[in-house]
Symmetry: C2
Subunit: 210 residues, 2 copies
DNA sequence: CGGGCAACCACATAATAATGTGAGTAGCCG
DNA sequence: CGGCTACTCACATTATTATGTGGTTGCCCG
């Protein structure tokens, strides 16, 4: 028996969901609430397996509710429920540990399937959400930018610079003379088109050389 | 009629998939290949709607094949097919524009459903993959770390440091004396627990202060 | 009103970093 | 072989940073 808690401000929808889920074999709705004002206490009191969490709610909304729950409970499965596959919310929800993200227009059969899937550790999402997630992922990742053709030794020096080493420390770390470190660094500056340590460090981060 | 192309080195599995898909209403397998050696030419010649792409193949593998296809064709839907929900491959596949990622053990019924879903712009993935993706996403994002309680002015100075400004430049940029810049920076170092410009810059990036 | 704090400025000294010039060794490639 | 590059080292000079000590002003808050 999968124990479900529902957060949804629209009374009709909340009732509808409760009916649907309670009426299905193997599912039980413990309670439903219209916002997350007391979410932590409620979750503790009812100890559900899965929480259906609407995002747009007056008072404490779903994202904030998600955060509050995750602050004290990382076990319970939380399925975000929303009308739009809105970019910002999806992002926030998944970065804050939501287990799935589904649209309200999901057909009843699918919804039950999703709840069950979440309960067993899956990450259910509707197709449109999944597409969004993939897009975000691929857009935020790529662009390793230029390569700058740093030699192995130069990369190594840059790595140490980034870690806050001084020339002296780099020299002893790499078993070379400090003047050699200097010449490596000079070469690095040329290749990166910068002329100070901190610019090089910044560029190393930006262009993900390190 | 959804036109499918299959890349899979195991002859039995390739045959099996072909039978299954071809034998289903609304699906047609145009051809099957055992590696991606000529993938670009093949995709051009057959012009499929969906490509099933195994990852582990001798010769040109699935990830490389994916890249090659995407270099010339961003329209065709590509479903990656693999035995393991291996972190690195999932990541690479989705950053390179795969439309979905499913496990080989997916039951036949689901597989057809996934192909249809991909064809209509969805992003099918098996539950275990979806879970992985969410985990990656949330792990790479969060952690704004400590706040370090930098004052507004200190944040501003740090910002300029990151952009490669010298003390002198910061002073003129902020219309304050260079000694004031020094004292701000000293305070920043204390708060960040570092003692050099480049460490501060590195920390600013890592902890996303800037 | 007095203590705490952010922001401002000054002077001084030591340590590091940046720049220039020059040079030797070793390996790769046409 | 001769040219190229990576890697190594040296010496010298100037610029920039790091650190210490100390002081003024103005604001907020109990």
């Amino acid at each position: 028996m999968i124990k479900v808690l529902i957060y949804e401000d629209n009374p009709q929808l909340r009732e509808g969901l409760t009916m649907l889920i309670s009426g299905s074999e193997g599912f039980d709705v413990l309670a439903g609430f219209k916002n997350c004002d007391n979410v932590v206490a409620e979750v503790e009191a009812f100890n559900p397996d899965v929480i259906l969490m609407d995002i747009d709610m007056p008072g404490v909304n779903g994202i904030e509710g998600l955060k509050r729950i995750r602050a004290v409970n990382t076990q319970v499965k939380i399925l975000m429920l929303t009308v739009f596959d809105d970019n910002k919310n999806v992002f926030q929800a998944i970065s804050n540990g939501a287990n799935g993200y589904i649209l309200k227009k999901t057909p009843p059969g699918k919804l039950l399937e999703y709840i069950a899937e979440a309960q067993t550790g899956g990450a259910p999402m509707t197709a449109s959400i999944a597409t969004q997630v993939l897009k975000m992922f691929s857009s935020m990742n790529n662009e390793r930018g230029e390569d700058y053709n740093l030699s192995d030794r130069e990369k190594q020096v840059l790595q140490l610079l980034v870690e806050g080493f001084s020339y002296k420390m780099i020299a002893s770390d790499m078993f070379i003379a400090i003047d050699t470190v200097r010449s490596h660094i000079k070469k690095i500056y040329e290749k990166l088109h910068v002329n100070s340590k901190s610019e090089a460090v910044a560029k190393a981060f930006k262009d993900k050389i390190v």
